[in-house]
Amino acid sequence: MDIAWSADEIAFRDEVRAFLANELTDELRASGAHMTSVYADPRHARAWQAILHEKGWVAPSWPVEHGGTGWSLAQRYIWQRERIAAGAPPVSPMGVQMCGPAIIGHGSAEQKAFFLPRMLSGEHFWCQGYSETGSGSDLASLQCRAEEDGDDLVVTGQKLWSTHAHAANWGFFLVRTATLDRPQKGITFLLIDMTSPGVTVVPTVSPAGENIQNEIFLDAVRVPKANVVGAIGDGWTVAKYLLDFERGGAAYAPGLQIDLDEIEQFASEVRGDDGGRLIDDAAFADAIAQARIDVMALEIFEFRAMSDAGAGRYPAAIPSLMKIRGTELQQRITELRLLAAGRYGLAYQPQAGVSAGPVHFPHGEGDFVGPREAAIAPMRYVSERAASIYAGTNEIQRNIIAKIMGL
């Protein structure tokens, strides 16, 4: 066992740092640093992706032949860590991390040739069409129907919680092409041009007043069968492949460490309850220390998963354990951020941050009151309640782990 990064890994880290120092503009840094949720706004995300594309670093986890970087898991972890530390906005995950692997694993040669380069370049900006009104955690119960009609599938239905659908030109969807004995059967994985006739995107306003998610209405949308990934009716296999693709790559800890750094920095500048600096307040200092300790344990847990995956071992419960713990700490840290903000944490001032979408509640423009950090705090707190809900609620994750434990 060895906890130190190797000389090669350190050299790689330095290369990454130099790249980030050179390429990040002030505007991009601000966009990464003042996010009001975990999502960057699409405009900056695309601008940053263009820079990465030039360098060939958009999709580290992809195979090299499709444009991946050929990095080890450790290098990928280092990249994420440094990227977050430098304040760069994240590349939108819907294309590169979610749809890309599906195409790579189950797509046709034509699909790979057409979609993957455009995904890397950012020409295609992707959204996801999975959840429905009656199908959240129980995704397999989805009802959005696609009927075969010659060379096309005709899709009618409704999708929810589609992040950035309002800014996307392509979407990957799960639709029902047949109703069979098990709900997982008869589902098809389909790529839809979001400019197709019959596609309507309606903004969903989040509790924080932002339009990040959307509803998508599909009304007899004609989609060529050539856009089916895998076989018709075999979409569940594709969707599961996608979930398994990034094993060993979970990296919550780097972002959480930066969050804590920001909060500590802020707390060293404002007054605490006992008259001194907030950072010197015993209860607050205790809470920060506990959060740091928790993040440290999570970080090593991530290292261990990475090391095990590298050695060909990867306990099935790991992704669910990571998701639960990562999001619990993420939410806990938004609580600390809100606590640090004190009374200014009550003010609704999305204009102080960089929102991932249009803001729909009444709010000011330009100037804001109090510190920027305090203005962002309630946005983050409210937005991050979603973290324990999306991608399988933490209750569902515990069900999954219990099953793996043989209970």
């Binding site: 959240g136 955690s137 989040s206 998610q213 606590l339 509640f361 309640r385």
Partner: protein
């Protein structure tokens, strides 16, 4: 010892509940909150004229109802359950408690609905401390001169007058300031619960002699304790709705072929929410019934309540969202609005940490 409501209190609650259902339904309330002013003049008038509750704590001699703290608790609970955005707490609770003999005019104006107040006590450098630090009142030949800056004064943008804390030398005091007075400027903004607040700058504001409404630290602390206690009562209504909505939603919402309320983990979570609500209710009763006790006993009961209520607001609020799943993350369902109100209540008049420490200090002194 008696913890039952009187028939009058039950009637008051029922009347208020019916009135608000008719006049402050969810869509109406949301529209009011998002209007330019952020509040409803007609609803305010209704509270005064139709219900008479603006004067609930105003003595009968001054045109009010002369009600007691328990009556007010009943009212605040219902206002919480209906997410009222109008400045009732600031006016009918804090205002009515601030004015004593010599201020019958103001008390009567409160009861009539002509006065809308904001309580500007917080400053950038005081965090949750109750007393003023950088807002200074100076004696002038005709009265007072106020200078300073107040932050996040809730309801200030919709107030006719501000109750401003300032210190005269070392002595804290409370002043009544017209919102439009020369030297008063506001930078207004919404709060995350759909209300309005402002940072208020006081620049050589000239006030008449009788603008000093109260003096001494105890007077200000008493007002903050009354405000916190009644905010706790409001929280009970807010939390009750979240629990009821969550129970209803989980009984309706089906996943994997069954109502999610049938899953044991979900059931136990809602049991714990219910438990938190019962404990918070108990803490609020004690705080409200202690408002007339000695300052130390009152403060101890209020701080204990605020810690208990903050924890209940967080637990019930977060779990209400969690159990609503994706639906909890849209602005369309009422529960997200209650969640944000509960989040604000958590730290209003002091965070749980602040009150726990105050409680410990008071317990040590006792």
């Amino acid at each position: 010892m008696d913890f039952t409501f009187t028939d009058d209190q039950r009637q008051l609650r029922d009347a208020l509940r019916g009135y608000l259902q008719r006049n402050n339904g969810f869509s109406v309330r949301t529209a009011n909150a998002r209007s330019a002013s952020g509040w409803s003049e007609s609803l305010w008038r209704g509270l005064a004229d139709d219900l008479g509750i603006l004067g609930l704590l105003v003595p009968e001699a001054a045109g009010g109802v002369g009600g007691n703290a328990t009556d007010m608790m009943v009212v605040m609970d219902e206002l919480g359950a209906n997410l009222l955005v109008e400045p009732y707490l600031e006016t009918a609770v804090i205002g009515a408690s601030a004015f004593g003999a010599g201020h019958e005019t103001e008390l009567a104006a409160i009861a009539r609905g002509d006065l809308r107040l904001a309580f500007a006590w917080a400053e950038a450098e005081t965090r949750f401390d109750t007393l003023p630090r950088d807002t200074i009142a100076l004696r002038t030949t005709v009265g007072w001169r106020l200078d300073g800056r107040k932050i996040v004064a809730t309801a200030a943008p919709m107030a006719t007058h501000l109750l401003v804390t300032a210190r005269i030398g070392e002595e804290p005091a409370l002043f009544l300031v017209e919102a439009g007075a020369v030297g008063v400027s506001q930078q207004a903004y919404p709060t995350i619960d759909g209300r309005r607040a402002a940072d208020v700058t006081l620049d050589a504001v000239a006030l008449p002699d009788h603008a000093r409404v109260a003096r001494g630290a105890e007077a200000i602390e008493r007002l903050c304790d009354i405000g916190a206690a009644m905010l706790g009562a409001e929280a009970l209504g807010v939390m009750r709705v979240m629990l009821d909505d969550t129970i209803a939603f989980t009984k309706e919402r089906r996943q994997f072929g069954q109502a999610i309320a049938s899953f044991q983990v979900i059931q136990h979570r809602m049991v714990d929410m219910y438990m938190q609500l019962e404990l918070a209710t108990s803490a609020v009763y004690r705080a409200v019934l202690s408002l007339g006790a000695s300052p130390a006993e009152r403060a101890r009961a209020v701080s204990a309540m605020k810690v208990t209520v903050a924890s209940a607001c967080r637990f019930i609020g977060q779990n209400a969202i969690q159990l609503h799943g994706g639906m909890g993350m849209t602005d369309e369902v009422a529960v997200t609005h209650y969640f944000r109100r509960a989040t604000v209540i958590e730290t209003e008049f002091g965070s749980a940490d602040w009150h726990r420490r105050r409680f410990a200090a008071l317990s040590r002194a006792a």
